[in-house]
């Protein structure tokens, strides 16, 4: 589904990604782990097409297409979804209105009929249950005045409605208490399926207790230095990132 | 033209005598500056209420009187004990005392200084080392800035001069103490302060305007503050003049890159006072804070006009001004924030809050934003109101008398500004002055009150 080869990217003239390689297939859950500043969020943003992140080398092929050539909205319509670490507030625009506009753009792109208000609302009601979100939240402006947990839930709720093929969760666990974490992870697990892939970007492995990955990659200084199964996350928890660092350092010496 | 002539008052009259008296000691460049200033004043006159900047302040009372310039001062028999009560008991400070606008070496306290630092009388420095002053004088405040700075420049003679060289921090505050004796008949003084803080230097300057006894006088000070990169200046101005006094003053600062300027202006006295505070952020990343408090009782008039001019990117400004108006007093606040086209990422916040303690008091406030850049965060807010009835009632229900309750709440309103003041001696002084002033405020509002 997704093939990243030798991806290099810089922000503000500073190289952050220094040649990332990885492949994600449908049905898989990949965890990207790494300490602060290792380039995890940069990778997520580059895949989503954020301005200001300049790709300086390598390629990303998504469903046979050159992903890097597509405008952010086209990537979204092709099924790439980024759950933001810091979802932005849009005052005055209601969550429902926003989501309906988004869903219909994506449906149009896929050659599906746009949903009318009634069908949309019944879809939304059904999806609300997945993340246990308060219906009131729908009528409030997008993320405005939401608590940190509400914002994160809202991201997963949007993911449930938009049904992306590739979902990238950028530090979705940060700032959440254990109950919220459990709910959100539960929501994500309900969305796992054989035709979809999920990339979980996280600093800590605690989210991975709840969303069990098929593969774990360690990102250090802009490169994936170690990959493995779910047991790698546990090993990291036990030994810390220094351990990988030392190991990698030893290899390169 | 006839109208303009009327609007110069009697101010042109004493000029020639002043110029002659100052001539022997003044460099020609300064004499020329004084002459340009008086010419400018003669041609444009003083503003009237038709000028937007003077819409709410009528300066006719100043123009209708004759104020004599104080050409020389013999100290008027003022003794050290007369000025001691105005020095906040801060013996470690560098205190320059000016009697009716003239520096008094005997009454001043000067401590040893770091090499290259100058703290002294402007007049003495003009006489002895004009070259130290010349590169800075009238640069931040050119003589044609407005009518009152032109007047100040025409009669420019004495004031405080503070020069802090690169990388020097002066620990003790510098106090410029202006004492009106009240004994010289209607007179005018035009203090000129020049504060130069070079790169990475730091200094605190306090200006205070006080009187020994009540009397009619017109004080027209101008303070220029020039700040180099990374310099830090804390500036306090306290105006507590005679109830018959008129005060029209300006403070102009210009900041270099990453410099930090804090200004706190507290205006408590005078029949009419006007403060023009103009802060120019002329270096990337500069920060300024303009805070202030004004109070007025009786028929007093107080006017504060501030301008914060964001010329360069990434600068931030903060401003909080509060007004407390009692009796039939009239307050004016005009806070202008300008963000120039290149000043992206400017961050400006301004608040003006006013308390009307008497049904006859008035306030005109105009917080003004002029934004020419798009990537900015600017907010301003203004409120006018009286003391909250619920708070008053709550206190009274706990047995506190109405007058006391009002005083406590009013003082709390003022304390936000007082708390910004860092040097303890000033804060303690203001606390007691405000306490006394506020205690009697709002009495007319209490049924059966005084």
């Amino acid at each position: 589904m997704l093939k990243i080869r030798g991806l290099r990217a810089s922000v503000g003239g500073k190289e952050i990604l220094k040649g990332v390689d990885m492949a994600v297939n449908a049905g898989e859950v990949h965890a990207i782990m790494g300490p602060n500043g290792s380039g995890k969020s940069t990778l997520a943003h580059v895949l989503a097409g954020r301005e200001g992140y300049v790709v300086t080398g390598g390629e990303v092929v998504y469903e046979g297409k050159n992903l890097l050539e597509l405008a952010p909205e086209l990537r979204a319509r092709e099924g790439v979804f980024l759950a933001f670490q810091y979802p932005v507030e849009i005052p005055g625009v209601s969550n429902t209105y926003f989501l309906k506009a988004s869903l219909n753009e994506i449906r149009k792109h896929r050659g599906l009929e746009e949903l009318d208000a009634v069908d949309f609302l019944s879809l939304v009601r059904q999806k609300l249950k997945i993340v246990d979100i308060d219906q009131d939240l729908l009528n409030r402006p997008v993320n405005a005045g939401f608590s940190g947990g509400e914002k994160k839930r809202n991201e997963i709720f949007q993911m449930a409605v938009l049904e992306p093929r590739l979902a990238i969760l950028d530090e979705t666990d940060s700032g959440l208490d254990i109950d919220a974490l459990r709910t959100i992870a539960g929501g994500v697990n309900k969305l796992r399926s054989s035709d979809k892939a999920i990339m979980v970007v996280t600093h800590y492995q605690r989210l991975l207790h709840y969303i069990v990955p098929d593969f774990v990659h360690v990102l250090l200084d802009g490169r994936i230095v170690k990959s493995g199964g779910k047991e790698l996350a546990l090993e990291l928890e036990e030994k810390g990132y220094d351990w990988v660092q030392e190991e990698v350092g030893a290899q390169s010496r | 033209m006839a109208e303009i002539a009327e609007r110069t008052g009697s101010f042109l009259e004493g000029f020639d005598a002043f110029l002659r008296s100052a001539a022997s000691r003044s460099p020609e460049r300064l004499q020329a500056m004084r002459r340009s200033a008086i010419d400018r004043l003669a041609s444009t006159g003083f503003p009237s209420k038709r000028d937007e900047e003077w819409k709410y302040t009528n300066i006719s009372p100043v123009l209708e009187r004759v104020f004599a310039p104080v050409i020389t001062s013999q100290g008027n028999g003022v003794a050290r004990r007369d000025v001691d009560r105005f020095t906040f008991g801060a013996v470690a400070w560098h205190t320059l005392v000016f009697i009716d606008g003239h520096f008094s070496r005997e009454l001043s306290t000067l401590h040893p200084l770091h090499d290259g630092v100058i703290i002294g009388s402007l007049a003495e420095t003009i006489d002895r080392q004009f070259e130290a002053i010349e590169p800075y004088l009238a640069r931040v405040t050119p003589h044609d800035t407005d009518a009152f700075t032109a007047l100040n420049t025409a009669f420019l003679r004495d004031g405080g001069f503070v020069f802090v060289p690169d990388a020097v921090a002066i620990e003790s505050p510098v106090h410029l103490l202006y004492v009106a004796t009240g004994g010289t008949g209607a007179h005018m003084v035009h203090p000129r302060n020049l504060i130069v803080a070079r790169e990475n230097s730091a200094v605190t300057v306090v200006e205070s305007f006080v009187r020994i006894s009540d009397g009619v006088c017109f004080t027209n000070p101008v303070t220029e503050i020039v700040m180099g990169p990374h310099a830090s200046v804390e500036h306090y101005k306290l105006q507590d003049e005679s109830p018959d006094a008129y005060h029209v003053g300006s403070i102009h600062s210009r900041q270099g890159r990453d410099s930090v300027y804090t200004s706190i202006c507290v205006s408590l006295g005078a029949a009419l006072s006007r403060h023009n505070i103009v802060s120019t952020l002329d270096g990337k990343g500069a920060e300024c804070t303009l805070n202030g408090l004004f109070t007025a009782t009786g028929t007093r008039h107080v006017d504060v006009h501030t301008t914060i001019d964001h010329l360069q990117p990434n600068c931030s400004s903060r401003e909080v001004y509060k007004g407390i108006l009692d009796g039939r007093s009239h307050g004016v606040f005009n806070g202008k924030i300008i963000v120039r086209p290149d000043a992206q990422k400017s961050d400006a916040r301004q608040t003006n809050k006013n308390l009307l303690l008497d049904g006859r008091a008035r306030i005109n406030t105009k917080p003004q934003l002029e934004i020419f850049a798009n990537d900015v965060k600017c907010t301003h807010g203004a409120t006018v109101g009286r003391l909250e009835a619920e708070s008053l009632f709550y206190m009274r229900s706990r047995g506190i008398g109405e007058q006391t309750a009002r005083a406590i709440l009013t003082k709390a309103f003022a304390s936000e500004i007082v708390d910004f003041i860092k040097p303890d001696p000033i804060r303690a002084h203001l606390d007691s002055v405000l306490h006394e002033q506020i205690e009697h405020m709002g009495e007319a509002m209490i049924p059966g009150g005084a």
Binding site: A48, G49, R50, E51, G52, A71, P72, E73, R75, A76, F81, F84, P87, V88, E89, I90, P91, G92, V93, F98, A101, S102, E105, I106, H109, Q158, L162 | P341, Q344, N354, L356, G359, R360, A361, R362, I363, N364, T365, K366, P367, Q368, L369, E370, I371, F372, A373, N374, D375, V376, K377, C378, T379, H380, G381, A382, T383, V384, G385, R386, M445
Partner: protein, 482 residues
């Protein structure tokens, strides 16, 4: 500067879609202004003596006035002697009794504007008094309204049919000597709308005027007067468009509203005059005086305006809150793009006790547009318990535009409470990216964000107007994002 921001800057090239000229036989006065022109104008309209006198008084006063320069707008001097002060489509002397008698070309013009009178008449239930250049062409629904005692007709007709009402209320809110442009209007106004709601009547439909400037070099000087008697209610809509011309046209209208005890007047404007082209050529100078007087206790006047057009907008719809417990409201969206300039806001004059006012102003600046909010809140000595809340927000799109705020708060009563808040911000790259990541393209995202920003004002508009306002906003800003 990020490319996201560059993109925001680019959406500004939408052509003015209401620009077309209607070919009708027009009766025009020669350019220039003097007492003879005013007499001619008054005679053509067969006005009673008091009207002519009022006009002449205004004209003589106008000669002593100078054009104001305090507003934050810049334009070349206007030659008042080069303007034609009268233009009327030529038609049968007595004026049309029904739509069938109205020139077909004119009706077609309205159809292009999307306000077909017949459509309106049949479907929408909106009574339209259409002002075409200077003469009111047809007034619909008159009969139905007449049944309730409501008078809704052209100003000229009101002068003929209800001179006592005109005599009583004309100039009672905006006196002939009020300001340069209002005084000029008082001297030369050609037509406009008149509306009278009798005691206790709630007007069952939205009343609407569509203004349109057609003839070249014609200054449009219409005058609207609305009187709401005790306990009555009326909602009035005004929409404005003008064809494309490369010279500037002056529009100096006056609107006066009078609300007696317990009456409510809601006045909504969607102003879409030709804004000029991208280089700032042409466009309307919209110098308008609008004021309402809450004469009666508990009366309420509410202004809502959406200003997207005109090269220059200069207007301050205000309320004189004279009656105790009366309420004034001002909700405004003002958009400037390209080289448009707007200096707009409101005046709330609190005279009566416990009077309340609310001001919500949303300015949007794009291109090289300059947008100023100028507001006055004045609490007079006797206005005990008066309250005001003002909120003025500015949104900047692009880095060559400007947003300015000049709020004047003058408070002379200590029991009053005045609060003013203002903020300036831009559409952030983060917001745009968030929308795009959800599949929404930049233009739609900007529209969505801007509409969200204006929501507080739009919700004050009647439904069909709100929809139009949203569309207009999109059109005005198109090209400011790429």
């Amino acid at each position: 500067m990020s490319t996201e921001t560059d993109r925001i800057e680019q959406i500004a090239t939408q052509e003015y879609k209401y620009g077309f000229v209607t070919e009708v036989d027009t009766d025009v006065a020669p350019p220039g202004l003097n007492e003879d022109v005013i007499r001619m104008l008054s005679a053509k309209k067969n006005e009673p003596e008091f009207m002519l006198e009022w006009r002449l008084k205004a004209y003589r006063h106008w000669l002593t006035m100078v054009e104001p320069t305090w507003a934050n707008v810049h334009y070349p001097a206007i030659d008042y002697q080069a303007i034609r002060y009268y233009a009327a489509p030529r038609m049968k002397p007595k004026g049309p009794d029904s739509l069938d008698e109205v020139d077909k070309e004119i009706l077609r013009t309205y159809e292009k504007l999307g306000i077909s009178l017949e459509e309106q008449k049949r479907l929408t239930g909106v009574a339209v008094d259409a002002v075409f250049d200077s003469v009111s062409v047809a007034t619909t629904f008159k009969d139905k309204l007449a049944g309730l005692g409501i008078i809704f007709c052209s100003f000229s007709e009101a002068v003929q049919q209800h001179p006592e009402l005109i005599k009583k209320y004309l100039g009672s809110v905006v006196p002939y000597s009020d300001n340069f442009f209002a005084t000029l209007n008082s001297a030369v106004f050609s037509d406009g709308s008149f509306c009278y709601i009798p005691k206790g009547v709630r007007c069952p439909m939205e009343l609407s005027t569509y203004f349109r400037i057609n003839t070249a070099d014609v200054g449009q000087f219409e005058r609207t007067l609305i009187v709401a008697e005790e306990g009555s209610y009326v909602s009035y809509l005004e929409g404005c468009t003008a064809p494309i011309r490369d010279t500037n046209q002056l529009h100096a209208a006056v609107v006066e509203l009078v609300a007696l005890d317990d009456a409510t007047i809601k006045y909504s404007t969607v102003q879409n005059w030709y804004p000029g082209d991208k280089e700032g050529r042409g466009g309307i100078y919209n110098f308008v005086t609008k004021r309402g007087k809450c004469v009666g206790a508990r009366s309420k006047i509410s202004w809502t305006q959406v200003e997207t057009g005109s090269a220059i907008t200069w207007k301050y719809p205000g309320c004189i809150l004279q009656g105790d417990d009366s309420i004034g409201e001002f909700y405004s969206v003002a958009v400037v793009n390209n080289l448009q300039q707007a200096d707009t806001g409101t005046k709330m004059i609190h005279i009566g006790k416990n009077t309340r006012s609310t001001i919500v102003s949303k300015g949007i600046s794009a291109g090289r547009g300059q947008n100023s909010y100028r507001g006055l809140v004045k609490i007079l000595k006797k206005a005990s318990g008066a309250r005001n809340y003002s909120q003025c927000d500015s949104l900047l799109i692009g880095d060559k535009c400007g947003a300015h705020t000049f709020p004047y708060l003058e408070v002379s009563n200590s029991s009053s409470q005045v609060e003013h808040e203002a903020s300036t911000s831009k559409i952030s790259d983060d917001q745009l990216f968030y929308c795009r990541q959800r599949g929404i393209k930049s233009e739609d995202a900007v529209n969505m964000i801007v509409n969200g920003y204006c929501k507080e004002v739009f919700k004050q508009l009647p439904m069909e107007f709100a929809v139009e306002a949203q569309k207009l906003l999109g059109v005005s800003l198109e090209g400011s994002v790429g």
